[in-house]
Symmetry: none
DNA sequence: GATGAATGAGAATTCATTCAT
DNA sequence: GATGAATGAATTCTCATTCAT
């Protein structure tokens, strides 16, 4: 499942360089998105570009690795949130974590659904994340805190929606999205439910949700 | 107000080519966003790149023209929707039109707030659009159909949010966002209103909403 | 000798256009030099570029024609000055006219000696101009007003030298070159003559004097 | 003061390439002036254009570096010449060096006074050169070898004038300008001085002397 | 005959990727 | 193993020249 290079005995300095690269890449891509240049990553890591390409034959390989690590953290965080006993609180935490992942990291929003996303094992991690969301949603619905006609797809879409605008406003109005979230939360309550448009959307379509902003080379 | 080149009597073939260019550019930029190459536009239009640069001295000029035309249509559509007598219906139509503009055109979401946006007359057209949104929102609030604590900024953010995910899903699940809209509409109803997070956001921050994904030209 | 297109019966409007083109080209090239674009000439003339290329198959042909006409005027002016009876005054006038031709027209200084210069009949006109200079110089020498060791080549070089700096300073210090001229005039007087460096230079080398500033396409 | 990239330990091959680039650029720009293409420099250096852009982010950076090195040499040479004890000989040497700098390098004549000139430290170096010229001129005047009505501006102009024609004739009649210089030197002698035209020119106008032939970058 | 339009070649620059030390 | 260096492909833009109306 992992694309991380695992030369089992990486020399100590090599391992240190790899760590530097991963840290730098995570920062740069989170800040600037996937169009950031490899040179920028190299500079922040304090290594040469060739060192990066030794570990990651392709820029996309580097991107995939970064994303994968991010997803692992996201999966773990989401799992923990979904395990909260009180269904409403679990739901709320899951939502906050999901939205925050978009807000804090441009790469996440850009990558899911791209060729990159499908070429690596990312969608399996994504499926895992989704399963935790599902659990939280269903518990809340079973508990009567969320209207039953809302599907997992609807739920995920709403999170992405709020995450996207949150990301765009992160520097100028960092908390603006929280008011949107509150409105959406009110809209999820069963007391007000009016019938929803059309038929439920298949979850598999949601991969496209995160198509990169540009054609992927 | 228009940046469109208006050599009042453009030769028939030239006018045809200009139309081809505008159509191709609108399509390409709508699909791929503003980073699409001029060459891509030229190819789809069936002309050489130099032909485009004859009409539009700069790529930004082309982008500005495309955007401006799109905004004019948007402003007109929104005006008409906001003029509908029944406040709830007016609001619904305004929302649909606004979201659709994001869904159908990547360039719109990318451009607002960028230097391009400020260099041309775009922000005036945008202010016009915003004023129609405001009218629709306030009428609906005065009529008791929308909770009073929702501001124009909240409202605009929600539209952008739904628009963003709608755009991403446009090819794979074209109507998926409509269910999100319904949920949000329910969240806007006064009878469910729970207090919103923090203080209202100033509208001017929303410019950043649409900041381009790359370093601003 | 002339490269001017001589369709013997040019329609009245065509002749008018040709005149407009010649006038505009003379202005533009005098101001901006030979790198000025054909489009710039067309615009100032109020005609289309194709109209220019109908008369002048090549930009170089246009340049040659402009230069030729300028040289004709220069030849006539120099002839008249050289005909002045008093040798010192004749010399002075010839010098002023020669220098002024450089100062007022960037094209002149740029063109002589280039492939362009040799491809057309320009060097014959130039020879004519030179012959008038020669007459003025020799008269002044015969009259004892100019040292006898100064050759026609030396004399021409000095004029070009002062002309070049005059041109560069034309806008910022329009008369600065006149002080240089006075110093040179003093240097030409016989009473101060000390022996000159090396052997006299062959006149034919002076064509190179005016090599264009850029490689000629 | 230097714009030369000084990665203190440039790898041997890189240093060799950098030297090749600098040498090629100095040659090409000296021969063809600043409009020469980077590709032409790259070809002569035997490297790709991108290699040049790695060291010099901008063509102007390359130009500035080349010019600066040339100016440093010029300043040193002029300083040395101005330090010669015998005032007449010092003056003569200063003049020869100044003129030779124009003759050998088109870039020098083109650059002074342009934005490039002001953006880099060039004008300070130029001011230094000018101060040496001034010293040589004033010594010669104090010693009675040069007429007192000649200003530093006049002097500089004469050098530029001879330098310009010398440059044009460099290949065809390499020493022709020396005879001009001798005539000018005679014109500078006090014994023959007749009053000069108009008022002295301010030195600052002379910047324009060297304005590039094309629209300033 | 005249014109605006179209184009192809070239220029500066950037960047992922490969190579030599 | 690591690195800085080299490069080729792509991008925006310009301009002399040819073409279609």
């Amino acid at each position: 499942m992992s694309t991380l290079p695992r030369h089992d005995h990486l020399r100590a300095d090599a391992q240190r360089n790899l760590d530097l690269i991963l840290a730098a890449a995570a920062e740069i891509f989170a800040e600037q998105g996937g169009e950031a240049s490899v040179a920028a990553v190299a500079e922040r890591a304090g290594v040469g570009t060739a060192t990066i390409f030794r570990r990651f034959p392709t820029k996309d390989d580097l991107l995939a690795t970064i994303i994968e690590r991010r997803f692992q953290r996201l999966a773990e965080d989401t799992r923990r949130a979904a395990a909260i006993a009180e269904p409403g609180e679990a739901l709320r935490q899951v939502m906050l974590i999901s939205i925050a992942s978009y807000v804090e990291d441009r790469l996440i929003a850009e990558t899911i659904g791209t060729p990159l996303f499908h070429r690596t094992g990312l969608h399996e991690l994504w499926a895992e994340v989704t399963s935790y969301k599902e659990r939280a949603l269903h518990h809340a619905q079973a508990d009567g805190q969320v209207r039953p006609d809302v599907t997992l797809a609807d739920f995920s879409l709403l999170l992405a929606a709020i995450g996207f605008v949150g990301q765009r406003l992160d520097t100028d109005a960092p908390d603006a999205w929280r008011r949107c979230l509150d409105i959406v939360l009110d809209g999820l309550r069963p007391e007000v439910a009016r019938p929803l448009f059309g038929a439920p959307v298949a979850l598999r379509h949601l991969a496209a949700l995160h198509d990169s902003d540009e054609a992927h080379r």
